[in-house]
């Protein structure tokens, strides 16, 4: 358990950090929404007659289309997929921890050792992805400094979360770090936290409208060879 849980509520430094983190969160949300609005740009009118339903495509693209059986990026790269998934679980837990700390600073973690182990695994996954990006020629050639900064920032957040969970750092330090991440989030690659959903919805909707989605590619039938 973190050593400062009992007194963080009354610490002025903590209160300042809490406000800065909240500003960081508002900044991130606002900037993401502004970027969404600019990207939308008034939208694009659709003049073609539909063959299917956009909503069916959107639902399909967020469900079945994401299954390994329907996505080569998963079925052909199960290790990377699991590693990526574990890393994202760690990031979400860490962000959740920040929110809990902001809303209810005195909350005592339920199972700190389990959370720390899980975060530890996520950190290792993060480092794997970082190293992979550095050494794989294809990945390196498409990467900008932002790609490395973004992953290091999220790994850092998870390390901070572990340190906080195990009482190595105070809540102030954890929140200082989190606010840095929130200020950077809408500027670089981390903005995919929003655009993942928007892009997937738009793509699914478009393919649904055209009758491509929901797809029938899993139909069992006779094939040659």
């Amino acid at each position: 358990m973190s050593p400062d849980f009992a007194h963080t509520k009354s610490s002025p430094l903590f209160e300042i950090e809490r406000i800065i983190t909240l500003i960081g969160i508002v900044w991130a949300i606002l900037l993401l929404l502004i970027q969404w609005y600019i990207a939308w740009g008034g939208g694009r009118a659709e003049f073609s007659a539909p063959s299917g339903r956009a909503i069916s495509g959107i639902i399909y693209n967020f469900t079945i289309a994401m299954l390994p059986s329907h996505k080569e990026s998963i079925s052909k790269h199960p290790v990377e997929f699991v590693i990526g998934l574990l890393m994202h679980i760690g990031v979400f837990i860490s962000i959740l921890k920040v929110f809990i700390l902001l809303v209810s600073p005195a909350t005592i973690p339920l199972i700190p050792s389990f959370i720390s182990i899980l975060l530890g695994i996520s950190v290792m996954c993060g480092f794997y992805l970082f190293v992979r990006r550095m050494i794989a020629i294809d990945l390196r050639s498409m990467s900008a400094p932002d790609d490395y900064i973004s992953i290091l920032l999220t790994i850092g957040l998870m390390i901070m979360a572990i340190a906080h969970e195990t009482g190595q750092i105070s809540s102030d330090v954890f929140l200082i770090y989190a606010s840095i991440l929130f200020f950077y989030l809408p500027l670089g690659k981390l903005k995919h936290v929003l655009f993942f959903f928007i892009a997937r919805a738009e793509y699914g909707g478009r393919l649904g409208y055209r009758g491509v989605y929901p797809a029938h590619n899993n139909v069992k039938e006779r094939s040659g060879g």
Binding site: W40, D146, K191, R210, S223
Partner: protein
């Protein structure tokens, strides 16, 4: 900012509106799309990696549309639009990508990489950087109404001799290709390659229409289903090509436009055309595949699968299937007209591009890459053991003919319509 940069930047701003920017902001460069690209699989160098290719377009987007791109471009890999940057982009978006969209369908995030690449083409087209051979095809369409500059008289005489052959074959004087006849229900748009190189395909369509008792005609002026403006990326050219054909169909008094088997022709006419023109068509547009399936299912034509006994497999044109949504019609038809139909693996929206898409066939400078990238399709075909490859696209058919020769596949390439015509009950 000079005029060149401003023009390209304006084109970029217009092209990304509504969806393009979403996908550029969504790509995390995880690199997992590599295996989905036929070009990368056959030549696995970084330059062919879909995310590397997309990142070249995205770098321009970031420079003008993201905060860090504007104040610290190096940090996010943003790049200013310049002659040099766009010259490099030509090889990337025209020469290393067919915009088939397979990487997008398989993207772990859901970023539509194919559309990102098309945005790259739009930017290049805005400043006149379309490869000359591709642009020449567009110019042909704009100047003469069809991509091969076939004169109206030539079309008419071809229709005449095809009609004569068809009448002999069917034994009916009514079997013919009606040209420029007003008041017919259907205006049929064809690929000019059918006139020049694949008359059997046009003859088969005429035979099917005749068997079904359809009221149809083709225009001698604007009959081209293709639209290379889609490949060049120039929206205004694409809109003009679409407008010519739609207005001609209206002039002829048609109630419906039916599109011959053509992948990009279907996509450009059915889906992109109204958006390029910024207005809905006054009459419906359908694929010949829809029409044939309707004829078969309604009993307007009778077919006998024992007339096509060789093993048949189906190649799915990307623009018709993955971008167009015409997926099951051709399968239902082939199951009715062939006795031994087998699927390729993978198929439908997961099909691999044959390598001839995106206007590649018109850009001879990329010929070697095109044939190499077709190796995936050649292997798919070989694995089926099929003797006939049906493909509802003349562009794909051209590429498959070359793959057949190069990889010694020993196959025959046919349109779906030809197989339907073969299977017609009552035909010789």
């Amino acid at each position: 900012m000079d005029d060149f940069e401003k023009t390209a930047r304006d084109a970029l701003r217009t092209a990304i509106r509504g969806s393009g920017a979403y996908h550029m902001d969504a790509c995390v460069r995880c690199g997992l799309c590599a295996d989905s690209c036929h070009i990368y699989l056959t030549d696995p160098v970084p330059e062919n990696h879909p995310a590397v290719k997309a990142s070249k377009v995205i770098s321009l987007f970031r420079r003008y549309n993201t905060l860090l791109g504007m104040i610290a471009p190096g940090l996010v890999g943003a790049r200013r639009i310049s002659q040099e940057a766009l010259d490099e982009l030509v090889d990337v978006v025209y020469g290393r990508c067919t915009c088939c969209g397979r990487c997008g369908i398989n993207c772990s995030i859901g970023a539509d990489v194919g559309s990102i690449m098309r945005i790259g083409r739009t930017v290049l087209a805005s400043v006149g950087k379309v490869p000359p051979n591709l642009q020449a095809v567009v110019q042909n369409q704009l100047m003469t109404g069809n991509q091969m500059s076939i004169a109206s008289d030539e079309l008419k005489s071809t229709a005449e001799w095809i009609s004569q052959d068809l009448q002999m074959e069917t034994g009916s004087d009514d079997a013919r290709i009606p040209v420029d006849e007003k008041g017919r229900k259907i205006v049929y748009l064809i690929n000019p390659r059918e006139v020049k190189f694949f008359p059997l395909s046009l003859s088969a369509a005429a035979g099917v229409f005749h068997a079904a008792g359809a009221s149809w005609t083709i225009s001698s002026k604007f009959y081209d289903v293709t639209n290379y403006g889609m490949f060049s990326g120039h929206g205004d050219d694409a809109a003009e090509i679409t407008r010519q054909a739609v207005e001609e169909a209206i002039r002829l008094g048609a109630e419906e436009i039916v599109l011959s088997e053509c992948g990009h022709g279907f996509r450009s006419f059915r889906w992109e055309g109204p958006n390029w023109m910024k207005k809905a068509y006054p009459i419906p547009v359908r694929s010949m595949l829809d029409v044939m399936l309707e004829y078969i299912e309604s009993g307007k034509i009778k077919v006998d699968p024992s007339k096509n006994t060789e093993r048949v497999t189906l190649h799915d044109p990307c623009n018709l299937v993955r971008w167009g949504g015409v997926v099951e019609q051709q399968r239902k038809i082939l199951k009715r007209v062939c006795s031994d139909f087998v699927e390729m693996t993978p198929n439908r929206e997961q099909n691999f591009c044959c390598g001839g898409g995106g206007g590649m066939l018109s850009m001879s400078e990329y010929g070697e890459r095109r044939i190499l990238s077709g190796k995936i399709k050649a292997d798919q075909i070989s694995a089926t053991g099929a003797k006939i490859v049906a493909t509802p696209c003349h562009n794909c058919a051209d590429q498959l003919l070359e793959l057949n020769k190069k990889y010694k596949l020993g196959i025959e390439i046919m349109s779906v319509c030809e197989l339907v015509f073969n299977a017609l009950v009552g035909n010789k």
